[in-house]
Every structure is written in structure tokens, then in C-alpha cells.
């Protein structure tokens, strides 16, 4: 009996020490190898100190993770940290009572935090009007061009220098098709992000009114005119003879590049590892996004995609102290450089970038530095900071649908973009009215 009581006391004492460690929940959307890396980061933090324990939980894709967090918040079961993709930014920002802005949380927790240590083109997507950081950048990428050098050579293209302008790229792509080296010249993934959102920033033209949505929620799309219209008209023209071929939404166009059906693709810089592992025997070259050289201000800088970590309200203050410490750990040069080099996502701090340089990473990996250079080519302008649109997830779908009507020949570029603007504005009005 006595020994039983002793055991009970011991177990209570043991439970006591266990619960002294504050648990922090982090919902993320990184599956596969990336998910393992996330686990590794959480483990690294847990071993670096003994007060807090981060539990990283995989919640499915970006949309699922965000929806899960929203549902959890409504049921008062929200995690401390949730990873949200860049198109969800406006929705998160508008959720006043639900989110805990990162700059404020760091301040309240007394955690040293220097915003200037972060790459401006990365954080500009996630700051408020007063340039204060709302969510912690985690995985960011930017679109670049991938060239299958073997196919270009087969087509007789001079591969000493890669195309810089759209005219040059289209000429190369056409030569590939005409020479029979490949069936299609170039394809693209993430058409809205790369061919419209980034093209607008890259040419320093507005994608939407109110400074791309940064100045308020009364916003309208501006993509049915000027550079965006011209570009989609060109793409439609190129689609006729195979110079361009559409490969599907998100990154489902990738197999066309991997299989050699298309000689050129445009995709996320984080897709570099995937390209290399799928095409181990092919010579690949990397290039910045092409631009129209008669547009003033081009090339400006490209914008990012990816996700940030948002902190949700509704927990005890000591727990937020743990979150703050974790964010400091996450931004440390070693952790960041490792994450950047392993995944191909951009380094979010200058220090991580410098460290990667010192480690000789960019010399060993041609093409890995190009996205950083492209993204930081110039200081961001109002047109190239990023996009802050409500209901952006749906707007992207609308753009996807309308562009697909162009590729299938059911609508002219002007009709499709007019329709995209009309439907997109409707969604923006909805968002304006509900917030």
C-alpha cells in the first residue's frame, strides 16, 4: 500500500515536471520531405531549451490548413501558430480579434526583434500600412524560368546566354517547335501568379487599385488593359503554334517539362530540387522572368509566393513568450540557411543569405542565387511590394478559369480578362462589405 502511494506521488511529481513545459501547437501545410524538415526544426527548438515544446502538426494543403484554423478558431480550439499561404494574407489581416500581429507579440513578450534584418522584398508582402510585420515569413519563393539546354541545342539555339525579353524567349520557343526539337516551346505553372501577378510587378504596373490593395479594402482589379492584356494576347497567339502550351493549374504542367515535351517552363524557385531529381541527365539553365523591353521601369523586381506563420489570439501570455522565442530561433541564420539550402525556398534574412554565400552554397548550386537576385533587383515600389486582395483564393480561381477559356479558344483575351475583372471585383466588393 505504502509503495503504491509512493508510486502515485512519484507519478504526480513526474507529471508536474512534464507540465511545467509549456506546449505550443503549430499547424503547417508542408507534406513529404518538407514536412520532415519542419519536424526537424521543431525538434531542434525543443532540444535547444527546456521551457517550451513545439508540436508541429501537418494539416493538409494550404487551403485545408487555413480552413482548419478558421474552424478551430470558431470552436475556440485554435493552435498558437498557423501557416497561411500568401493569398490568405488579406483575410488574416482583416481578422482583427483573431490574429496577434507578430511585431506586437514580440514586443509584448520582450523578445528582441529587428525587422531590418529581413529581406525587404519578402516582408513587404506581410506588413501593415505602418510597415509593421504582421506574420512571420517562413517559406517564400519567386518564379523563375527553367531551360532544357539539351533541347535548345538540338534546336540550334545559341545557349551561351538565356533570353532576357519576351521577344527573345518567344523566338527561342518558336525555333524549338519549328525545328522539331520538342513539341512545345514553353509552358507555365501557376498561371495567375507567374503570368499576371508577377508580370505586373516585374513591369512596375498595378495589378489592382488602392496600391494593389495595401491602401484599403475598396479595391478593383486592373488586369484587363495595358501590360497584362498585351501579355495574355501574346500568350494566346503563341498558344496557336505550340510556342506556348498550357499544362494545367498549379504545378500540374511540370510533367511536360520533365518529359521533354516542352523545352522551357516557368515555375517556383522552390521547384529547383524537383527539376533536378526528375531530370538528372539533362542540362538545365536558369533565367530571370522575361520582360517587355519597351515598358518603362521593367524589369523591376518579382514578388513572392509561399506562406507565413500567423499567431492566433486566445492563449495565455506565457505561451506567446514561447512562440516569440521560437520565431527568434526560426529566424536565426543557421536554421534559415539550412532551410533555404535544403528546400530551395528563399532565405528570409540577410544574415542567412550571407551565411549561405560564405558556405559556398551558390557556387556549388548554379541557379540557386538567381531568384534572390531577381527578387531584390530593385527596391520594391507600390506596384511590386505584393498583393493584398480579399477573397484572393477565389480570385485566383476566377483568373484560372477565365485564362483557361482563352487557351481553349472559347474567349478572346480581352473578353476573358474583362470577365475576370468583373467577377474578381464582385468578390472584392463582397470582402469589402463583410469587413
Amino acid at each position: 500500500m505504502k509503495s503504491f502511494a509512493l508510486a502515485a506521488v512519484a507519478s504526480v511529481a513526474f507529471a508536474g515536471t512534464a507540465s511545467a513545459q509549456t506546449e505550443i501547437t503549430w499547424w503547417h501545410a508542408m507534406g513529404g520531405a518538407l514536412g520532415e524538415k519542419v519536424e526537424e526544426i521543431a525538434k531542434g527548438f525543443n532540444e535547444s531549451q527546456s521551457d517550451y515544446k513545439i508540436n508541429a502538426v501537418y494539416k493538409g494543403g494550404y487551403a485545408e490548413t487555413m480552413t482548419a484554423a478558421v474552424a478551430a478558431f470558431r470552436a475556440n480550439q485554435q493552435p498558437h501558430i498557423v501557416q497561411v499561404f500568401e493569398v490568405g494574407t488579406a483575410t488574416m489581416m482583416a481578422a482583427d480579434g483573431a490574429i496577434y500581429p507578430v511585431y506586437q507579440m514580440m514586443e509584448d513578450a520582450g523578445e528582441p526583434f529587428d525587422q531590418s534584418a529581413y529581406l525587404p522584398s519578402v516582408i513587404s508582402y506581410y506588413v501593415n500600412d505602418d510597415n509593421q510585420l504582421l506574420s512571420m515569413p517562413f517559406n517564400s519563393s519567386t518564379p523563375i524560368v527553367y531551360y532544357n539546354v539539351d533541347l535548345l541545342e538540338k534546336a540550334g539555339v545559341d545557349t551561351s546566354e538565356m533570353p532576357k525579353t519576351w521577344d527573345e524567349l518567344a523566338a527561342v520557343a518558336k525555333q524549338v517547335v519549328d525545328s522539331g526539337a520538342a513539341e512545345c516551346g514553353f509552358t507555365t505553372t501557376w498561371q495567375s501568379w507567374i503570368q499576371l501577378e508577377n508580370q505586373a510587378a516585374w513591369h512596375d504596373v498595378a495589378f489592382a487599385s488602392a496600391n494593389d490593395g495595401y491602401a484599403g479594402t475598396d479595391v478593383e482589379l486592373l488586369i484587363n488593359d495595358g501590360v497584362p492584356l498585351r501579355h495574355i494576347e501574346n500568350m494566346a497567339e503563341w498558344a496557336k503554334d505550340g510556342t506556348f502550351k498550357y499544362g494545367g493549374r498549379q504545378s500540374s504542367g511540370n510533367p511536360m517539362f520533365f518529359s521533354g515535351e516542352c523545352a522551357i517552363t516557368m515555375g517556383s524557385s522552390a521547384g529547383r530540387a524537383g527539376v533536378m531529381s526528375n531530370m538528372p541527365d539533362t542540362k538545365i539553365a536558369y533565367g530571370m522572368l522575361p520582360y517587355y523591353d519597351d515598358v518603362q521601369g521593367a524589369p523591376q523586381n518579382s514578388i513572392i509566393g509561399g506562406a507565413t506563420l500567423w499567431v492566433l489570439q486566445g492563449h495565455e501570455q506565457p505561451e506567446y513568450k514561447g512562440v516569440a522565442e521560437f520565431f527568434s530561433y526560426l529566424s536565426s541564420p543557421e536554421v534559415q540557411a539550412d532551410w533555404h539550402q535544403f528546400t530551395g525556398y528563399l532565405p528570409i534574412t540577410n544574415a542567412a543569405y550571407e551565411l549561405s554565400k560564405e558556405q559556398g552554397y551558390y557556387e556549388k548550386n548554379p541557379g540557386a542565387e538567381l531568384p534572390i537576385k531577381q527578387m531584390t533587383l530593385n527596391d520594391p515600389t507600390v506596384n511590386s511590394r505584393g498583393l493584398r486582395l480579399g477573397n484572393f483564393v477565389q480570385i485566383r480561381d476566377v483568373i484560372n478559369e477565365e485564362l483557361e477559356n482563352v487557351w481553349s479558344g472559347q474567349a478572346t483575351p480581352k473578353e476573358a480578362l474583362d470577365q475576370a475583372v468583373a467577377r474578381g471585383n464582385d468578390l472584392l466588393n463582397q470582402f469589402d462589405a463583410s469587413n
Binding site: 487551403a63 480552413t67 510533367p255 511536360m256 483564393v393 483557361e404
Partner: protein, 294 residues
């Protein structure tokens, strides 16, 4: 004829016995349906921190949206094609396999097999076969001079989801048709044969009418399946595209509600869908069932 009547001695017993079913209906149907109706009159932001009563605005928005009616058209084309394809093929398979003498079980097992495949997996399977650059079926079609590309052409995409959805449902239909066929007594066939009716005539004048209860049941089940349970097939293959060519009503409800976080708009769509289902069910049972001979 006097019917046998069961009487309960206790007043509460019948209620108690009905309780589990009532509880299930209440929790999984009445409650969410009521929530959907309430939600459809509100406009809320994603986190529910702001909630405004907007009366019928969500419905107005829906009915002013031409793409909603396009989605209805798509749903009807998809549901009818899937049902017709799945039912005719399964009836054919059932009729043929009913006459097989050797290896019956092996054939039947293979025909029933697809039913065990999850809808999303079925979708991915067909997506691989019809992948525009690496699909073997696309390659074969290309040799025949057909340019099949579900990412660009609306018709290809529609064909792809119809095939995937129907393939998944054939097994289920097959089982019921086979059971129905086996329930028809041989003497009926023999009598018809003696009267000089050939196999085709026998099929259309004897088998089809006698199978009508099974056919009616399967018609209802298949339509419900095509309308409501094919979400995973579409999500795994076309995601509603290209354009909105394969965006059926249920897929829209999910997309607007769970991806777009437009709960009011999504709830309004659910309510419309609920009304449609109720109407169809009444029509099916009142008008079509009358043609059925049990």
C-alpha cells in the same frame, strides 16, 4: 385479410426504439440543415468576428450569377451521362456474366473489384491514364488522331470525369442487376422460347420489365451518387476546370465554402441544392415509380 398487429404494452418503448434513428437524423441532417439555412441569410467574415444579416442577398447574388446556372447544366450533363453509362454497361455485364458457365466467380470478382477503390484513387488512376503528356490512353488516342487534353479542352475534361465516376459505380450496379437477373425464374424464359421469342426479344419483353424495380432503385442511387458523391473524383482530377467546365454544384459548394471561406454564399448554395433534391425525390417517386411493376 386480417393483418397481424403488434401492440406494445409500454407507451415509451416504440419511442425508445426509434430514438437512435431519430438522434442520427437530428445530428447529421436536421441540425446541419438548420445551420445552413440560418447561415445563408448572413454575411460573415472568415473567422466569424463580423456577422451581418443580409436577408436574401446571398441568394440574389447566386441567381444573378450566370456561372451558377452553367454549373447546374454541367451537373445535369454529368449526372445523366454517368448514370446512363454506368447503368447500361453494368446491365450488359450482368446479362453476359449471368450466362457464363465456367469461371463465374473469377469474372464476378473482377467486375466487383472497382467498388473497393476509393473515389479519389479512381480519379487519380484515370488522370494518369489520360494525362496529356505521359498518359497511355492519351497516347493511344493520339495514334487514332484524337487530341485528348483534359487540362485544355472542356469536352475532354467532362469525358474524363464521366468515365472515372461511371467506372467506380459499375460494380455496384452490376451486383444489383445480377441479383435481379437471377431472381427471374427460368420457366419464364423457357415459355417465351417455346413461343418462338429470340434472345433479343426475350431480353426486351421479359428481362427489362421484370428488372424494373431494380432499375428504378439504381436510377435513384446513381443520380444521387453522380450529384453528391463524385466530389473526390473531380477534386482529384480536373478541380472543376478547365474554365468551369466540370464544376458541378457540390464542388462549388465546397470550393466557395472551404477554399473561399464564403460561408454565407456556400450555405445559400446548399439550401438551393437541398430544395432541388427534395423536388427530384418527389418527382421520381410520384411519377417514375408508377411505371415500375413490383
Amino acid at each position: 385479410m386480417q393483418t397481424k398487429r403488434v401492440t406494445f404494452r409500454h407507451v415509451w418503448l416504440p419511442y425508445l426504439l426509434c430514438l437512435p434513428q431519430l438522434a442520427v437524423t437530428l445530428v447529421f441532417f436536421i441540425w446541419p440543415a438548420a445551420e445552413a439555412i440560418i447561415e445563408s441569410f448572413y454575411r460573415t467574415n472568415a473567422f466569424g468576428t463580423s456577422m451581418q444579416f443580409v436577408a436574401f442577398e446571398n441568394f440574389q447574388r447566386l441567381f444573378n450569377d450566370p456561372s451558377y446556372f452553367a454549373s447546374m447544366r454541367v451537373s445535369v450533363i454529368f449526372a445523366v451521362s454517368t448514370t446512363v453509362l454506368a447503368m447500361t454497361l453494368s446491365l450488359l455485364f450482368a446479362a453476359v456474366s449471368d450466362r457464363i458457365i465456367r469461371g463465374t466467380n473469377a469474372y464476378r470478382t473482377f467486375l466487383i473489384w472497382p467498388y473497393a477503390v476509393a473515389p479519389a484513387v479512381a480519379g487519380v488512376l484515370w488522370l494518369f491514364l489520360f494525362n496529356p503528356s505521359i498518359g497511355i490512353a492519351t497516347y493511344a488516342l493520339e495514334l487514332l488522331g484524337i487530341d485528348f487534353n483534359a487540362t485544355i479542352y472542356p469536352n475532354s475534361a467532362m469525358a474524363l470525369i464521366i468515365i472515372a465516376a461511371a467506372w467506380k459505380q459499375i460494380s455496384y450496379n452490376f451486383l444489383f442487376f445480377l441479383a435481379g437477373l437471377q431472381a427471374i425464374p427460368n420457366s419464364v424464359y423457357e415459355a417465351a422460347a417455346i413461343d418462338g421469342a429470340g434472345p433479343v426479344k426475350r431480353f426486351f419483353t421479359i428481362v427489362l420489365p421484370l428488372l424494373s424495380p431494380t432499375t428504378f432503385f439504381l436510377l435513384v442511387v446513381n443520380m444521387v451518387y453522380a450529384f453528391f458523391e463524385t466530389f473526390a473524383v473531380i477534386h482529384a482530377t480536373t478541380q472543376g476546370g478547365p474554365g468551369q467546365a466540370t464544376s458541378i454544384l457540390v464542388y462549388r459548394v465546397w470550393k466557395d465554402g472551404f477554399v473561399g471561406l464564403d460561408l454565407g454564399g456556400s450555405a445559400a448554395q446548399s439550401v438551393v441544392l437541398m430544395a432541388l433534391v427534395a423536388t427530384f425525390t418527389v418527382i421520381q417517386f410520384r411519377y417514375i415509380e408508377r411505371q415500375v411493376e413490383y
